[in-house]
Subunit: 353 residues, 4 copies
């Protein structure tokens, strides 16, 4: 079988790097181009020295500008660009090219919500209508036949994997949902910012963007949809924190139970929904999810605990933000879109310690 | 003026070490003995190489067993022992010795609660009745005249500093209080445990002791007391997490507002209550508390934010768990008990980076 | 083709865990038993929660004692035991079982040297005579036909990969060789020791075992052999340091050049020797080896630099101590011993960041 | 006594911050101005949130441009600027202002050497002639009467403290000196660079600037001077590494002994030279220097070990690069210049863990 010809657009960020890492070992992918903006013209081995041993086709051994790529010969692109830049490129792609978008541009179904949170009008609303939300375990069938998949943000991935089955089962209510989230520093990207310097982020922990994080409307959109309500009716507390680690994301969701429902019902709903899923697992009995136990893998680790407050429960999810929270889930979607086994290139076990 | 003669009981743990660090630079303290159990007989410089340059009196240059200390000549002791062991020693001390207990033994006013959470009956209930809860900013006058001060746990310190003024002002309610906490690894002590090895705790984050942490009843006790209710009536969610850093603790309290109260009311209540306090400060405008900005100091950094959920707010507190959360607050109490300026030996600025 | 039936002996240490990680994804391996000592009887998912999602045969889903394993049905064992314990088990194995020993027991060819450094007589000297030193790139042919391969220590692996080609080419001399080494904490194992606690090893760096590390005689043995000299004639400086990271090892070798030789000659010797090697690569031009760029992979990254002191050069090597320095090289040897492609199960790219 | 009026010039870098930290608690210092370039106009509490609780005079509560400061009323300045910028400011200062320069501009006595290594001619050569090299323990008397003190770089500080007494005593030779150095990330400053991002520097170790670091000529200059030789005659190997920690620096010097000298002679020379020094200490017997045991303090921890290579020894020094390696030593020099007790404001014990 011919290999699927793929480009990684936005190959100089951490998301792009992890897309390359997975794609390079996918038996049915040929990476034919890697693009970047400020890093265009530099060899891959200089931009990412950890890939210095990787042999790619000549066309992909140096990062190039998007406009230097002949997209007509491609089958698929992974897009790891900043929001805005992503839609600008995606709307110019030939229709035959399938798009796995890891950016934020096609996650919000309502262009008005997009404009509100991203500060610019959406300029590819036709594509937006076709986009499928790429939370694999919940949109698998739509993803199979999609041309454009909008992979969820890292926080929404962990949050929705933990909560959607509970909403669908009706065991929690949505009017008092508190999502306390903790992320490693790679979630902030490779751009130069003072707060992600080693000396600033190391040996310390702090909240950020409280009540103002762009992943919040995305979470609300999907929770509302699962509950059969309008997105404007759901308002969650989403409080992210920056933790001194490179990879890893943990969601501690403090949920209010529906009348009569218990923490055990929550766990049962999750176990039932995810039975047979290759990447969703539960922390071993007596243990709790830890991000280091998912590191480098596409795993999502779940647990449910009773709350000391009657009528409440605690739902916990741990992922690697760059894998299941980003490029790993993107690859999982790619596999579905092209008819490969869903776990292809994703069987790597967690790297611990 | 004669110096106050002090012993640090339990000098081989992190709490003990920070008590030594502060006491050694206190102009009115003479450290005359350091005790330990398994480390007895070892020079201080071997147990704590970072103190190898510290000159102490001969009697304190080697750790000894408690029974080797003549407590009759002492004025005060800092007790950094595990629970249980602490009361066993404290009840044998001469009445003239003032006790600053950093252990858990005298924090819970109700012996039955103690037995329930610590798994053994309290065996010094007379002393327990005399003990003053050492949350300095809230029990200052009682501490001045106390003989035995029970310094709060690190989590209760941060939590109660953030919440007690809100309870006292009546701007939050207590039946839906969610305290999501994050601590550095030093909170788990210097004992050898697999989960605190560098390779296990590093580069990862996980919850632990969800719904079962011994600091929970302590928090409930004090919240109830401030609200004029019985401790059994207050049930909070307390969810601690282990973060990959040595020092630092952050509390993210998701609070339900009283009818008509706002986040601004919460902030105002905190600012009013803590006006003039030397160690309580607010994050600069637009910034949020970060544990690294309190590191090594006795500071507690506060902030309040509106919640996206109507009727809720988020209150955040950051401390160094070994200083304000432990030995620093102990020293603050010592200063009160002996009539020194409350900030003596505690003026060290945060060590950042 | 039937799969090779394998046991991992000593499965509860970091070395054992990485052997499992690699073996579990090897297409021609069936893991049939995992053994441990104090952890015997515990499920793999409890001992190693990051493997909770891994499906192994029933017989390998719980760790067992060595004596519970029927070795007659096995084809190969990976041995990750402490020294001493390793030979005790290995000498009892049926002759048909090939042994990839990751312990120290069969690395030193001279039993007297072993006794001197490990403090006990060698009790399997017959096996010792048959053992092949498992530095793959230098003993490939011997390894192919070996029954017992003694995989080098992590430090010797990096050091010898950097230096052996220089000795063989005669461009350096051996009487003034300074090997300044830095290792992550996982090199010290999963045993409970105070100096590997997060709070002790974190945010700090220190030398240890200066002039007394057991990897030193191993390095001398192999350097001497390559130079055609007796091991007793070669004395190197080997100065290891503990660095605050989990994985990674860096060797900075300060070498004295042979008369007329240059740093460029050294680089040329390395490039010539390792031409075509799948796991040995050079840092991209202008860059230097960094352990984080080898993390999780079987790569060894090399570089040579001129020294400011005339007649000297600096040779640098970076590896992941648990992969190329331990279980990865063991798997590489396994592949050779069983006739598989040498890179099987080892193609995973470095995990960065 | 009137306080000494001080400005910190270059207050937005890590060096400047630690100068503020120490000066703010100096009983005889009044900080009257803080200057910065890009951060001018911003309140101190925003530039350094860990100082948000610090009360400074109004004039120092906001960072200003150098030209906004009236230097005629000042007694002293600490200069934490980049090289080049430092001399530009220093040469404009009134003669009455004493200068403690933490920059690199006045460390190299030979302007030609300065130009060679810093890429621009020295433009304050008159001042250069007056400058005293601020390695306190070796230039104490000159510092007392100096107007301009050029504080050594962090690497030279640790290196020279370890080696100068050996050179002066004649127990080592200078033609084969290998200095393998390891530094925390704060040594690279607060500027935005990709290699000091948390995700790039974390969990990894690498050499950098091998054979090309600007601290090398400074080390050679002082070693040569102590040996009574010309700087051009001394060529050392200086190989720095970046380690994943914020603070801390370790020097492992591999020295060649003079004929007949031993490692014990080296240790004896160090102990004799530093007898009574308040900040120089030896690692406790059997232990080795560790950077974490100096953290936050002005201590330098030394040790000597025999080398396995005959005629060689290993000398080790650990410091906090921002304290003894920078602002702490600067404060020590300030105290000498103004006649205060040398340890004033520097008695803080190491912060461990």
């Amino acid at each position: 079988m011919d290999k699927v010809k793929v480009a990684v657009i936005g190959a100089s960020g951490y998301t792009g790097a992890d897309a390359i890492r997975l794609a390079a070992r996918h038996p049915h992918i040929e990476i034919v181009a890697l693009t970047a903006n400020t890093h265009a013209g530099r060899p891959l081995a200089k931009v990412w020295p950890h890939f210095a041993g990787l042999k790619l086709p000549e066309s992909a051994s140096t990062l190039v500008k998007n406009e230097q790529v002949d997209f007509t010969g491609l089958d698929a692109v992974f897009v790891g660009l900043p929001h805005g830049a992503a839609q600008d490129v995606i709307k110019t792609l030939p229709a035959r090219v399938k798009v796995i978008d890891i950016s934020a541009d096609f996650r919000l179904r309502n262009p008005a919500t997009y404009e509100q949170w991203y500060g610019r009008p959406h300029e590819a609303t036709d594509l937006l209508k076709q986009a499928v939300y790429g939370l694999t375990e919940h949109y698998r069938e739509e993803i199979r036949s999609a041309r454009l998949v909008a992979c969820p943000g890292c926080y929404p991935t962990a949050t929705l994997l933990a909560l959607l089955p509970l909403v669908k089962r009706g065991v929690i209510v949505l009017d008092d949902l508190i999502i306390d989230a903790k992320s490693g520093v790679s979630g902030a990207g490779r751009g130069l910012k003072q707060n992600t310097l080693f000396c600033e982020a190391g040996e310390g922990l702090s909240p950020y963007a409280v009540g103002a994080h762009r992943h919040m409307p995305e979470i609300e959109q999907e929770l509302a949809r699962a509950a059969g309500r309008d997105a404007s009716e759901v308002r969650v507390n989403f409080t992210p924190h920056l933790a001194p680690m490179s990879r890893g994301e943990l969601i501690t969701a403090h949920v209010k139970l529906a009348d009569g429902a218990t923490a055990a019902d929550c766990e049962q709903a999750l176990r039932a929904f995810y039975a047979g899923e290759p990447f969703i697992r539960f922390a071993p009995e007596g243990l709790l999810p830890a991000t280091q136990h998912a590191r480098g893998s596409n795993d999502c680790i779940l647990a449910v605990r009773e709350d000391r407050i009657p009528g409440r429960a605690i739902v916990i999810a741990a992922i690697d933000n760059l894998v299941k929270g980003s490029s790993g889930q993107a690859m999982q979607n790619f596999n579905l879109m092209f008819g490969f086994n869903e776990t292809t290139a994703l069987t790597q076990l967690p790297l611990f310690p």
